[in-house]
């Protein structure tokens, strides 16, 4: 009975996920402490050198870095288990509150980017595969090369500068607006960064689509479908694409999980207060609780996306379900 339970793929996945999260927690904790400089140095800069020994002792107690490392780790981990993500040492804001503000930003950006990437990637991927070796194939391949080759920071900064200088259009210079506060402004602020991200993420999706599509279109059932008189278009989009979709779903899931980790560079350039910037700033200021808990949240999101991808497999492909 117990053995059977352990053989259940769902439970195995959950156990693996928990193991991953624990590993991430330990790793982040150690890496943060291995970085040069501590909170005192981050807060005071070179003025830290001017602190008297008494002042330094007081600060170490304030930041809790006078405790042995394992005490620090378990007090953080213990709080996590009670649902307390900790408090930022600057601003006294709870990490939970900060994340409630920044996560929706990153989630929306990732979602928009992945939609754009899917439209470009799958669209051009199918067109390229259907016309292998012809102009459309060449066009698709060029788009994917551009997406891979042009760095997002360059494309993003260039678009931002040109739009602001020539058109006076710079919604990202205004304070960030949540979609429920001002949907139009939010859309204006999001669309360019999402397009830049989507364009770069489209490349791997396009390549995967093309390869998988070519592979499936050689199969017998395609010829059968054509022989039965189904139109080329219908065969292409309904029959081949559906059967070619597993690797595309995998690739999309991976890219989506990656985007949820926060697109730091794009968030910086376009002043979007997302998860990536939350982590970056916290690393710079050695705000340990914020980095640790936020990275853990990102890891959790990644695990969840992977899980969702697996479930989607089962829905798309009856063979996976049957296993």
């Amino acid at each position: 009975m117990l053995r059977k339970l352990f053989e259940s793929p769902v439970l195995r996945r959950i156990l693996a996920a928990i193991g991953t999260l624990i590993g991430v927690a330990v790793l982040v904790f150690i890496m943060l402490r291995a970085l040069p400089g501590d909170q005192i140095q981050a807060a005071y800069g070179t003025e830290a050198a001017a602190l008297s020994p008494e002042q330094r002792t007081a600060l170490e107690a304030y930041y809790g870095i006078d405790q042995p490392l394992f005490v620090q780790f378990f007090s953080w981990a213990g709080q996590l288990l009670t649902g307390n993500l900790g408090i930022s040492t600057r601003g006294q804001e709870t990490v939970a509150n900060m994340t409630m503000q920044s996560l929706p930003v990153t989630f929306q950006l990732a979602l928009l980017a992945i939609i754009i990437a899917l439209v470009i990637g799958v669209g051009f991927g199918v067109l390229a595969a259907a016309a292998k070796g012809k102009f459309r194939d060449w066009l698709g391949q060029s788009i994917s090369l551009l997406g891979l080759g042009v760095p997002t920071f360059l494309l993003g900064a260039a678009i931002l500068t040109i739009a602001a200088q020539l058109l006076g259009f710079n919604p990202n210079g205004l304070p960030y607006a949540h979609p429920w506060e001002n949907p139009l402004l939010n859309f204006n602020q999001m669309i360019i960064p999402a397009a830049v991200l989507g364009f770069s993420v489209a490349a791997p999706i396009l390549r995967t689509t093309r390869a998988s599509f070519l592979e499936v279109s050689e199969l017998d059932f395609v010829r059968t479908a054509r022989a039965k008189g189904i139109s080329v278009k219908r065969v292409r989009w309904n029959h081949i694409l559906r059967n070619a979709s597993l690797p595309i779903v995998t690739m999309t899931g991976m890219q989506f999980g990656f985007l949820l980790g926060g697109a730091v560079v794009i968030e910086q350039i376009f002043s979007l207060p997302g998860l990536g910037r939350q982590v970056l700033l916290a690393i710079n200021q050695k705000d340990f609780a914020v980095v640790q808990s936020t990275v853990l949240i990102i890891a959790l999101l990644f695990v969840l996306v992977n899980l969702a991808t697996d479930l989607l497999y089962r829905r798309i492909d009856p063979r996976v379900r049957a296993e």
């Binding site: 008297s52 006294q92 990202n172 210079g173 960030y176 949907p183 139009l184």
Partner: protein, 516 residues
């Protein structure tokens, strides 16, 4: 099943379309409001673009530039600087120093209130200074108050201060944000949420990583500011700040990078002000071979400061001697080699017994300020011509600061802060009891005596002579090589009026600014 799904699809698309239309319709009005608010055409709302969020609202522990800029608007100190950085009245209207220089009597301004409504008096000053001196507070200005022995409120608006030794630099030190006055009953644990000060503005709103908004204090003793609000908006990327200026989203920004400032253009004006902080090459005089003054002088003579300024900062700045504050400024040609002199440098090296040259290591910060690496590389090639081989170690800022604090370097390219009074700038570095003396790695009895003399002298002219002497002594001993100071670039939209940037870099002038 399939048929059903297909039928539903067009409806869904239609629904999305309609709701998008609806959103656009209702959002338009909001955007228009937003834009007039952002442009501030009719209203006195100033938006300043900054590249990073402030890290503290506590004036006593704040050192970050951005935090200092914001907190200067919210808090007040006993003393304020005039345009030449001479100490003048602030929360103290006037002061008198006794004959022996050991008693200072401050006459405090009456009718000043804190932002929580409570009255400002001498007890608040005493409580603030005592808290700053308490090591538990970990205040950066504790050392500035070291000469204070006792304080007494002879009446609510008169403060008598007894000093352990005369301190002519005291008034300059009491002007810093680090000695700002908070109410005597302040709860330090709550300052990050409820800052209480006497400044021209109060905290209205703070959203982490996005913005800090201040509202005018109508009861400000200086007179209510013309601006109703100031928003410090975080735009992390410097070129994005430029874009925001051009698009009119922000009306003001301060840059320290000439390259970025030069891209602004348009109708935005950019004003240059000399900065006090000094680009220097620190030598570790406690290590071989820099413990020999001839080696240090060789380095000093081998460096072409104009060349460093030219290549690292496009010539945007001034070559300096040790003291950069306007009233005490050193003559940059008053040094052993007024011009670069490679032959003289080789002579000094020979005198030190290194006629065949020597090799040294130099650290520089990669990511702290834009000019460091270029400075380091120019110095490296200049020293090579005099036979000094330099190995450059570019370091990430955290590692750099670690090494700097531990004085773990032969030479360090550094950007060191400076104050209006040379005693406040150098007393901590170059006197044997200074709290940064370990890092400066240099002190002598003569210097100790000179600094003591400078503190004890109350006549301003006589003080200038003493610091000129200190400046000459430092050049002759060359514990550091003084290179140049850069500029601040204050970019302002044409509608911003009345703001004067100060040499200290202070944004206190925002209390005189308005939008026209």
């Amino acid at each position: 099943m399939k048929a059903k799904r297909q039928r539903r699809l067009p409806k869904l698309v239609a629904a999305i379309g309609v709701s998008a239309l609806a959103l656009t319709g209702c959002a338009e009005g909001v955007t228009t409001d937003e834009q007039t608010g952002g442009d501030g055409a009719a209203e006195q709302n100033l938006v300043i673009g900054v590249t990073t969020d402030i890290n503290s609202l506590n004036p006593w522990t704040a050192t970050q530039y951005q935090a200092v800029d914001v907190l200067t608007q919210m808090y007040g100190s006993l003393v304020e600087f005039d345009a030449e950085l001479n100490p003048g009245p602030g929360l103290a209207e006037s002061w008198e120093v006794s004959e022996d220089g050991l008693t200072v009597t401050f006459k405090l301004r009456e009718g000043v209130t804190f932002s929580d409504g409570s009255e400002f008096d001498a007890e608040d000053v005493i409580a603030s200074y005592e808290t700053i001196q308490d090591p538990e507070t970990a205040a950066v200005s504790a050392a500035n108050l070291a000469s204070i022995d006792a304080m007494e409120a002879t009446d609510p608006h008169t403060l008598e201060m007894t000093l352990t030794q005369p301190d002519a630099a005291l008034f300059s030190k009491l002007s810093s944000l680090g000695t700002a006055i908070m109410p005597s009953d302040v709860d330090l644990a709550d300052v990050e949420n409820n800052p209480v000060g006497t400044g021209g503005f109060t905290l209205q709103d703070r959203s982490p990583n996005q913005s800090v908004t201040l509202a005018a204090n109508p009861d400000y003793w200086y007179g209510a500011p013309a601006l109703e609000t100031i928003e410090f908006r975080v735009i992390p990327d410097q070129s994005a700040v430029v874009s925001a200026l051009q698009a009119g989203n922000v009306q003001m920004a301060v840059f320290d990078d000439a390259t970025v400032a030069s891209t602004v253009g348009g109708e935005i004006t950019v004003e240059e002000t000399a900065r006090l902080d000094m680009h220097v090459l620190q030598l570790n005089s406690e290590r071989e071979p820099m413990n020999d003054v001839n080696v240090r002088l060789a380095i000093s003579c081998a460096i072409d400061r104009e060349g460093v300024l030219e290549s690292a900062a496009m010539g945007e700045g001034e070559v300096i001697g040790p003291i950069t504050s306007p009233s005490f400024k050193s003559d940059p040609t008053d040094r052993p080699c007024p011009e670069r002199d490679v032959e003289q440098a080789k002579q000094y090296l020979a005198d030190a017994g290194y006629e065949d040259g020597l090799s040294l290591k130099m650290i520089a910060m990669q990511d702290g300020y834009s000019t460091a690496i270029a400075e380091a590389q120019t110095i490296q090639s200049q020293l090579a011509e005099a036979g000094i081989e330099v190995e450059l170690e570019p370091l990430e800022s955290g590692t750099y600061v670690d090494r700097w604090i531990a004085t773990d370097f032969d030479m360090a390219v550094a950007l060191n802060g400076a104050s209006a009074d040379p005693d406040a700038t150098y007393g901590r570095y170059f006197t044997s009891t200074g709290n940064l003396n370990d890092v400066a790695a240099f002190s002598t009895d003569e210097l100790d005596a000179l600094f003591l003399e400078g503190r004890s002298e109350s006549d301003p002219e006589a003080r200038k002579e003493i610091y000129a002497e200190i400046s000459g002594y430092l050049e002759d001993q060359a514990p550091w090589i003084w290179l140049f100071t850069g500029y601040n670039y204050t970019a302002m939209a044409p509608q911003v009026q009345g703001f004067e940037p100060l040499v200290s870099g202070s944004l206190l002038g925002l209390r005189d600014a308005s939008i026209g």
